[in-house]
């Protein structure tokens, strides 16, 4: 057998600290055109640091090679199918990257006076309008930095709106299939969590809900389609039940990629919702961020949107901070502007019809995979799938790792929690039939391997640069930084 060669430089790239040698550097500053200042004199010697012990000292080539080598150790959507359920790993168009680096957009300071930032404000206003149209809502804030940040913003608005009526109420209802950020966000907004269970079809039970809701309930947080990839068919009825009790409906829009152009939450009783621009609107995940989580609301909630708001006046676009009912600022400045630019580029490239077409293709891809796999894996719920499908298998974690050997990124493992052994698969509209067929063939082959040679599956992956990583050892004795031995 041919062995992997261990000293292969690009496979065994050391840490930057291990590459360092004293005196090396990768920068060149211009000559100072003003007199130098003695730091000790200007700042007081007690305020001046002597050294940054063990800090990096490498050349420019060192830096470029180092990170290029590291990059080859990653899987990415640019390399292939990335079927993480509820994460919407779709193609990140490069035109988005190009326009985000437009010189006149990159260098705008957030405290530039409004007349000196008209282009930036126009872009944000245009995106607000498009998102309101897609969701069927009346107003949008672009400030939240991520989906979870949008959830917190939204629930704070629920509280402010109910408080304005005299009683903020006590709890928020959350289905057991929800993402863990929902309950965590609710706690941060000072609410208790009321857990509700899904029925045997994987949907919320309107009758059971009607019995649960009383005047202590502030709102329900519904992910729709839910994390099983199932559309909550009774959502309009649920909204009527909530509204009859004076409670609000918050929709987690993480799965909006199933709805854009075919279903608008604002049309059937949803009062407010967040969107994940890094999912539905194709901005890159970047290995974990940055994201953006705008919140869209119906008219009655508009006064409570975070500060500041874009407004149009006779002299052009400007920021309005004079909004006494607002929940306040949820972050400094106005949002992840660079991400907003990318999202607007995506909307422009598609147009209204293109957005709908992308949704339909996402639905087709998910249902096609479901059909190919149904005979080999057990589907968790028989309800029709939207943009993703959830199977179950006792060895979900091992099968996921074995997929890596076949050249694919694993699906979402063990989520949602209500499905024991969940395998949650979301192909997105990006994938062609050829890619989907290859992926299905891989999963079917693994199902057979699991019967014939379970050891092969349980010890996977076998072809990666590092073998199976010991997460238990990492957590028992955390080593969270490099140190000189």
């Amino acid at each position: 057998m041919i062995q992997k060669v261990r000293p292969h430089p690009s496979q065994n790239e050391p840490l930057l600290f291990e590459r360092s040698s004293p005196g090396k550097s990768g920068y060149q500053l211009p000559d100072l055109d003003v007199p130098a200042v003695d730091p000790a004199e200007a700042l007081g010697s007690a305020n001046v640091r002597r050294d940054i012990p063990d800090f990096v000292e490498v050349s420019e080539v060192d830096v470029l090679r180092h990170f290029t080598r590291l990059s080859t150790w990653n899987y990415a959507i640019d390399l292939g199918l990335y079927p993480l359920g509820s994460c919407t790993m779709k193609y990140n168009p490069r035109v988005n990257e190009a326009v985000a680096r437009t010189e006149g957009l990159m260098w705008i300071h957030p405290f530039q006076e409004d007349p000196l930032a008209q282009g930036a404000l126009a872009i944000m206003a245009e995106l607000e309008r498009a998102l309101a149209e897609i969701t069927g809502m009346d107003a949008v804030t672009l400030q939240p930095a991520a989906g979870a940040h949008g959830e917190l913003t939204g629930i704070l608005m629920v509280r402010a709106a109910l408080e304005a009526q005299g009683n903020p109420r006590k709890k928020i209802l959350i289905p057991d299939s929800a993402h863990g950020t929902n309950p965590a966000s609710v706690r941060m907004a000072g609410y208790e969590v009321g857990n509700i269970t899904s029925n045997e079809r994987g949907m919320l039970d309107a009758e059971a809900l009607a019995r649960t809701v009383d005047e202590s309930v502030a709102a329900i947080m519904i992910t729709n389609p839910n994390t099983l990839g199932v559309f909550e068919e009774r959502i309009a009825e649920i909204a009527r039940i909530m509204h009859a009790q004076g409670a609000l409906v918050y929709m987690d829009g993480a799965n909006m990629n199933a709805l854009a152009g075919i279903s608008r939450p604002g049309d059937y009783g949803v009062d407010l919702m967040h969107l994940n621009l890094h999912k539905t609107f194709s901005t890159p995940h970047g290995g974990g961020g940055p994201g953006s989580g705008p919140v869209a609301v119906k008219k009655p909630l508009e006064p409570f949107l975070p500060l500041p708001r874009i407004q149009r006046t006779a002299s052009g676009w400007s920021w309005n901070c004079d909004r006494p009912q607002s929940i306040g600022r949820v972050r400094a400045f106005y949002g992840n502007f660079g991400v907003l630019v990318r999202a607007l580029a995506y909307v422009m490239a598609h147009g209204g019809d293109g957005l709908k077409r992308a949704t339909l293709d996402a639905l087709l891809n998910a249902n096609y995979l479901r059909k190919l796999l149904e005979r080999h894996y057990q589907i968790a719920y028989h309800a029709p799938s939207m943009h993703e499908c959830v199977f179950r298998h006792q060895a979900t974690a091992a099968i996921a790792k074995r997929l890596i050997d076949y050249g694919f990124h694993p699906y979402t493992v063990s989520f949602p929690l209500i499905v024991h052994g969940a395998m949650m698969i979301e192909p997105t509209e990006t994938e062609s039939k050829q890619e989907l067929d290859l992926f299905a063939e891989a999963l079917i082959a693994i199902a057979n391997e699991f019967q014939e040679n379970p050891e092969l599956v349980s010890t996977a992956p076998h072809t990666t640069r590092v073998a199976k990583v010991d997460e238990v050892a990492a957590a028992r004795k955390p080593v969270l930084r490099w140190s000189r031995l």
């Binding site: 940054i52 080859t72 502007f337």
Partner: protein, 425 residues
Amino acid sequence: MLDTVGATHLEDLYAHLPPEVRFHGSLNIPAGKSEYEIIDYFRARGAENANWHANFLGAGVYHHYRPVLADAIASRGEFLTSYTPYQAEISQGTLTAIFEFQTMICQLTGMDVANASMYDGSTAMPEAAMMAMRITGRDAVAVARTVHPEYREVLGTYTRHQGVRVREFEYDAETGQVDLASLEQALDESTAAVVIQSPNFFGVVENAKQIAELAHARGALLVFVFTEAISLGLLEPPRDADIVAGELQSFAIAPSYGGPFAGVLACKEKYVRQIPGRLVGETKDASGHRAFCLTLAAREQHIRREKATSNICTNQALIALMATVFMALYGKRGLRELAEQNLAKAHYLGGKLWRRFKGPYFNEFAAATGVRSPQEINRRLRDVKIVGGLPLDRFYPELKNSMLLCCTEMSSRTDMDGVAEAFGA
């Protein structure tokens, strides 16, 4: 494919939805545009912003040179288009880079542990305050008025419904530093954290050691905030702090009208179980080779749900990567030289103007505008294509006729002379 799924038209795929939830119209969004048209639109919008070479605004966002490698590396598809590194075996690139990031942040701040980054500085600060409350079991936070005003507003929004009492304490009108007597008055046995920023909003360096002593004497933790990361190249690190929260925008991250940026959250070793956000740890693979993975995830929301340390479930990986590239390029010597250039530039302009505060300053300072109003000065500067400073009465009503000015390595002597001239100096 339609045959396989048993459909005739694509529309059949959602025919099971009740009519009342289906959208029957077409979206009022113009038809899809070509790449060329899209680029043209954004170019036109870009031209509508002040796009001049000289900008003297600071106040939490700084104009620093961005080495080209930052974009070159962050544009690699393997970094740009990968997800959170949950599958360690095929995410070692991102995981290794984050481990290096965590290490560098510890080296710069003097803390033992740093997480994989937060949304930005303004959200890292309230997370630090809430972390201090969990550690101490106390419910009040004392925050200096010299902390960035928008950060303080975010703290208010975050803590309002969690039973937290936020008290602000004053600054000394002469030095621009924390007024220690006011701080002492704000402290009691319920204080979980004292929050200061240094260099503070006025650009003045605070006496962190002395403030730490006062906080610790009352059993409170010191949360140290920074918005100008370049200062860490020259200033003594906040060793006396318990938690450090900061903003890394200065490290190769474009101002981009306020985001995306990357926040820092770092702390002493003993508080590691209370730090929110992602952490990368070193371990081994099945063959005994070094490998990295996300760790201590049990603190996080996807496991703990409503008992989690925070709802945050992202870091700013790509932005933190750019900051890591920046730190690697400048390195030990470069970061110092860069900080010294910032210091020299700010002191050149500061020496020409009447500064409001006597405390030591790094690359920002509050200038008194004298006969002309800040608005009048900025108008004059606009005529020569210079973006002036921030009128301070926007956030501090008592500071009329004052302007916050920032000078970096990108401020030329000619432009600084231009600013001094607009002041009438």
